[in-house]
């Protein structure tokens, strides 16, 4: 027999109405507009685009407002929206070497073509809260330095000549890049699929794992070969045009991590590499991704797999915060019947346990009496 229990419609409707009210807050405070969020909470918007795996600033800003600033909820909203749209195709791979660079630093080379360009960074700030910002003070325009445009080749290209550093990751020529939005995860997985999962992975989770590698759990001696942030052009091959059609540009952050490697049975001593590429401006995420990418190459490089960050199934299965929050948060949904069944089971086991205890006690008393 199955008895459906109904109810809660009115409570749910009123809860959502209350949510809308609390989201709006004090009506005497002006409501946020999406362009304010896009412009002034840009890095939050970038995180939602990166982990929502959808590049669209306005949609990400809408998601942030709708989620009342709850980033994982916002990411969830964006992921859900994606599923409503048809797919036009795969772009040609972006050329990060041709990026319109807004920031570019290297921790391995002081003097490199294009130089060290700090861009809009939090680095070297004193992390003191700024009361002037709270008071809405005017902000001065950026300084300008009119100089000739200079090429900024990727550091990896500069390092390549001595043969002491790995080449960019190659795959067999007939390898078609895997797509986790089309096929279920399967382990072990190729590096390209891992990178897709890492690029949309939870920043906090990847950061913690990256940190764990630095603290000795899969130590791999990383250096930031390069971090660069800027806009790259997108192009798409379409059947109706004889050339790849330009779509415009997106901002991405790229990290080239360079890791000292003592060599193994599979590879000679050299610098190996981890790679990070994420939507928007987020060097913390790109760096964490690169650390995890390198750690997850343990098997390929003949290293012992001894730490969590090297365990592909562990890292990739738990890196998606939409899946993670779904499974954790589902626990609060009604489990009344499950729980009643469990309760009946525990009651029976407890009764059996107590009966056994009583029997043992009686047997003990009988033996003592006999002695």
């Amino acid at each position: 027999m199955y008895v459906a229990v109904k109810g809660g419609e009115a409570a749910i409707a009123n809860a959502h109405r209350l949510l809308a009210d609390r989201r709006r807050g004090d009506r005497s405070v002006p409501a946020l507009r999406l362009n304010q969020i896009v412009e002034q909470l840009a890095l939050g918007v970038d995180r939602v685009m990166s982990e929502g795996s959808l590049y669209d600033r306005e949609l990400a800003a809408l998601a942030v407002v709708q989620a009342r600033g709850d980033m994982i909820e916002a990411i969830f909203l964006v992921r859900a929206y994606r599923t409503t749209l048809p797919r036009f195709g795969y772009t040609n791979p972006v050329d990060t070497g041709a990026m319109q660079v807004e920031r570019r630093i290297s921790a391995t080379y002081k003097d490199l073509p294009g130089g060290q360009v700090l861009g809009p960074t939090f680095d070297y700030t004193h992390r003191l809260l700024d009361p002037e910002l709270a008071a809405g003070a005017e902000v001065e325009a950026p300084a300008q330095r009119p100089v000739e445009a200079e090429a900024m080749p990727r550091v990896s290209a500069i390092l390549a000549h001595e043969g002491l550093i790995e080449a960019d990751g190659e795959m067999p020529l007939d390898h078609v890049p895997g797509d986790i939005t089309r096929e279920p995860l399967q382990f072990p997985m190729a590096r390209d699929i891992r990178l897709q999962a890492l690029s949309r992975g939870d920043e906090g989770f990847l950061l913690a794992l990256g940190y764990s590698t630095q603290r000795g759990y899969a130590r791999n001696h990383p250096f930031v070969g390069e971090v660069r942030i800027g806009e790259v052009e997108l192009e798409l091959d379409v059947p109706e045009l004889p050339f790849p059609v330009p779509l415009g540009s997106i901002r991405v952050t790229e990290c080239q991590m360079v890791n000292q490697f003592k060599g193994s049975a599979k590879a000679p001593p050299q610098f190996t590499r981890g790679y990070g590429l994420v939507f928007g401006q987020s060097e913390r995420k790109a760096m964490a991704m690169a650390l995890c990418d390198r750690a997850l190459r343990a098997g390929e490089l003949g290293e012992d797999v001894v730490a969590a960050a090297q365990d592909e199934e562990f890292v990739i299965s738990h890196s998606d915060n939409v899946q993670a929050t779904g499974f954790v948060e589902h626990l609060k949904l009604p489990h009344y019947v499950d729980f009643q069944a469990e309760l009946g089971l525990v009651r029976r086991m407890r009764a059996e346990y107590e009966a056994r205890q009583n029997e043992d006690k009686a047997a003990e008393e009988k033996r003592e009496a006999a002695e």
């Binding site: 100089v147 990751g169 109706e240």
Partner: protein, 153 residues
């Protein structure tokens, strides 16, 4: 490919790139100022969908999928018969329609000059100016290393 055809394609692609980068309001404003015709039959869209953005492992290695981006496209046919296409990041359907008409008009010898001078040229100038501003602002944050000699030799 013959030189003439290659130049033709490069010009058309350059216009599409310019329109893809431009704001819808700006396209509409210049369109009206130039008095370009906006009559066209919609053959497809405007419709919004996704493209999957690809990167390369290590920057130059094998391709991998990074994530998706919204793209809006349209295809139109002019009364004079030319078929135009547009694709651009974002979800602006009005922009997609106008950009497709611009592509079709560009293929019409009677309109190419106007599209180039009254629409593409000012959009391109604005885009280049914005990029140049960004570039020189970025350049101001470039580190100039210097060495300090300490002690007596």
């Amino acid at each position: 490919m013959r030189g003439q055809e290659a130049r033709e394609q490069a010009g058309r692609k350059a216009l599409m790139a310019t329109l893809a980068h431009a704001e819808a309001d700006e396209i509409a404003r210049l369109w009206n100022e130039a008095g370009l015709p906006s009559e066209a039959e919609l053959l497809r869209g405007p419709e919004t969908g996704l493209v999957t953005v690809r990167g390369r492992i290590g920057g130059g290695g094998a391709p991998f999928n990074v994530g998706e981006a919204t793209v809006t496209r349209a295809t139109v046919r002019l009364p004079s018969g030319q078929v135009g296409h547009s694709y651009a990041l974002g979800r602006d359907k009005g922009k997609a329609r106008l950009a497709a008409i611009a592509d079709a008009l560009w293929q019409d010898p009677a309109h190419r000059e106007t599209v180039e001078t009254k629409l593409a040229a000012p959009l391109r100038a604005a885009l280049n100016a914005a990029r140049e501003t960004r570039r020189v602002e970025t350049a101001a944050t470039k580190v100039d290393f210097f060495t300090m000699v300490r002690g007596e030799d």
